[in-house]
């Protein structure tokens, strides 16, 4: 079992969208994934189940108000589940309690993706301290680049305490491939970071995200023939798989024949 935090120094970059769609894509590739909503604004809970107010969730399990099984939302997708934020305020959550909840989730056979609040202090820092990996969406705009040293400083602080997750990848998001300044930032990211840190897969700016969010579904479930941008998350999942140490000893790495 591994815990991957989705966190970013900047708000509004699509962390919730990334967590939900990436979790879905990883589950479709055969890795059981639970998306945990650690954002008090409850993006994932509201997105998937807007009619369920004060639903039990992470804060309730962490504070011992309910069992994990009572709070966990199973989906129709095999191996894909969600743990909403819950009825608490977030004050119940610290790295120790989060680790306890994650341990319980691991016993159910799930890997974990955690959606965090905007910024890197407070609750996000607690989530990072309880995580194995960090995937950070970085908006393809100049301001986002200038904020990256904040991310680094937070990780360095955690590292000093021996609690930093491994920075698995930076994912360029909201990329506008026809806007030269957006492409320039993308190129700058490739230049700045160690090779392999910035993923080849980028998430474009696309109105389909709003539509999917409005319906409370991952992009691939938006309609029977999902929009082209939904395939981006399959690409992303495949690229992240080795970076998140997802490997199965039993699986064969040989080509699979298409004829009997």
């Amino acid at each position: 079992m591994s815990v991957t935090a989705i966190a970013s120094p900047k708000g509004g970059v699509g962390k919730t969208t990334l967590a939900l769609n990436l979790g879905y894509a990883l589950a479709r590739r055969g890795w059981p994934y639970l998306v945990v909503d650690a954002d008090p604004l409850g993006g994932i809970g509201y997105s998937l189940a807007p009619h369920l107010e004060n639903r039990l969730g992470l804060t309730d399990v962490a504070a011992g108000r309910c069992q994990l099984s009572a709070a966990l939302l199973k989906t129709k997708i095999p191996g894909f589940a969600v743990l909403p934020f819950g009825s608490g305020s977030g004050a119940e959550l610290n790295a120790g309690r989060l680790s306890d909840v994650f341990f319980q989730v691991g016993r159910l056979g799930f890997h974990i993706l955690v959606d965090t609040p905007a910024g890197l202090s407070g609750l996000t820092a607690e989530v990072l301290a309880a995580s194995d990996f960090l995937v950070s969406p970085i908006q393809a705009e100049p301001l986002a680049l200038r904020m990256l040293p904040r991310l680094l400083a937070t990780l360095a602080g955690l590292n000093r305490q021996g609690r930093a997750p491994r920075l698995a990848a930076l994912v360029p998001v909201m990329v506008q491939s026809r806007v030269s300044s957006s492409v320039a930032v993308l190129q700058e990211m490739f230049r700045l970071f160690p090779p392999g840190t910035v993923l080849e897969t980028y998430i474009p700016r696309d109105p389909a995200f709003l539509e999917a969010s409005g319906h409370g579904v991952p992009l691939a479930q938006l309609r029977a023939r999902p929009p082209a941008v939904a395939a981006v998350f399959d690409h992303l999942a495949a690229e992240l798989e080795p970076l998140l140490a997802l490997a199965s000893a039993e699986e064969s790495d040989e080509p699979i024949p298409i004829l009997d």
Partner: protein, 296 residues
């Protein structure tokens, strides 16, 4: 420059013709295997490559370079251009010349390639850096990356720090090596910096501590070096607790600076100044912090 060619007579004539180029040092190999061994240590500005070679082919070497993301320009010389046209099209930064290649043409193309590479290097290095050298090293450690951070100092010296799978491996800067070089490359004024992927470390491991600790030690070394001739602190002699206060503030200030908590670092160093107004290390650090916060 690296020349990979298995015909000995041609190799010698190429070596003689090309080593006369100004500022170019030539290394000759008869096979891709020998070239790969050299590439561990060398970072050639250009490679002149034959395709048909004993053992691995020139295409294999191009694939290896592409995997490493080396970005080194390659001039392929082949008598079978049409046969390899499609395979060669996959590789960027490759120019194909058909054998027999007139030496004058080869010299001209090599010089053009080297000039272009120098220009790109200079332009990239001159861009404003978002991170300090210490930041780059921490990034490499956090991502378990294998990289070489190349630094050009303001006095013209060039240095290199290697990180292998996130562990600090070696550092060199002119005649300095290991810890001395690390401190110099992190703290001396620089004009350029770039990070390259590292296929393999170029030498024996020289560091055996976590990068965080090495950075802290480098900061201490650097700050204590110019402090040798300073006057004995009167306040410290008069009051041991003031001396302890100073050391604690100074140590925490360094730590805050390394973690880029610049406001906190500035506050702590200002407190140090209250305790020892003439302490050059503190003045030096405050100047650095203020320069970082407002480079203009």
């Amino acid at each position: 420059m690296l020349i990979v060619e298995d015909e000995q007579v041609l190799l010698w004539s190429l070596e003689r013709a090309l080593e006369a180029l100004p500022g170019v040092e030539t290394i000759c190999c008869g096979s891709v295997e020998a070239a790969l061994a050299h590439l561990v240590e060398l970072r050639p500005g250009v490679i002149v490559l034959d395709i048909h070679l004993p053992g691995l082919s020139g295409i294999d070497l191009l694939e290896d370079l592409a995997v490493q993301g080396a970005g080194v320009p390659v001039i392929v010389t082949t008598a079978y251009r049409a046969q390899h046209e499609q395979a060669l099209r996959r590789f960027p930064n490759v120019e194909v010349l058909e054998k027999p290649v007139p030496l004058e043409l080869l010299r001209e193309r090599i010089q053009a390639r080297l000039a272009r590479r120098d220009r790109v290097d200079r332009e990239e290095e001159e861009k404003d850096a978002v991170f300090e050298v210490a930041d780059y090293l921490q990034l490499a450690a956090m991502t378990r990356a294998s990289v070489a951070v190349e630094v050009t100092l303001a006095d013209g010296r060039r240095g290199r720090i290697e990180v292998w799978h996130g562990e600090a491996w070696t550092a060199e800067c002119g005649e300095l090596a290991a810890r001395d070089a690390l401190g110099e490359l992190i703290f001396a004024a620089r004009t350029g910096m770039r990070m390259r992927q590292l296929a393999r470390p170029t030498g024996e491991r020289r560091f055996h501590h976590r990068l965080e600790l090495l950075l802290l030690e480098a900061a201490k070394d650097h700050d204590e070096a110019p402090a040798a001739p300073r006057a004995a602190p009167v306040e410290a002699a008069a009051s041991p607790s003031a001396a302890e206060d100073f050391e604690r503030c100074f140590r925490n200030g360094l730590r805050a600076y390394l973690e880029r908590h610049l406001e906190e670092a500035e506050r702590l160093f200002c407190r140090c100044l209250e305790l020892r107004p003439d302490e050059p290390r503190v003045h030096h650090n405050l100047a650095r912090i203020r320069q970082t916060r407002s480079p203009a």
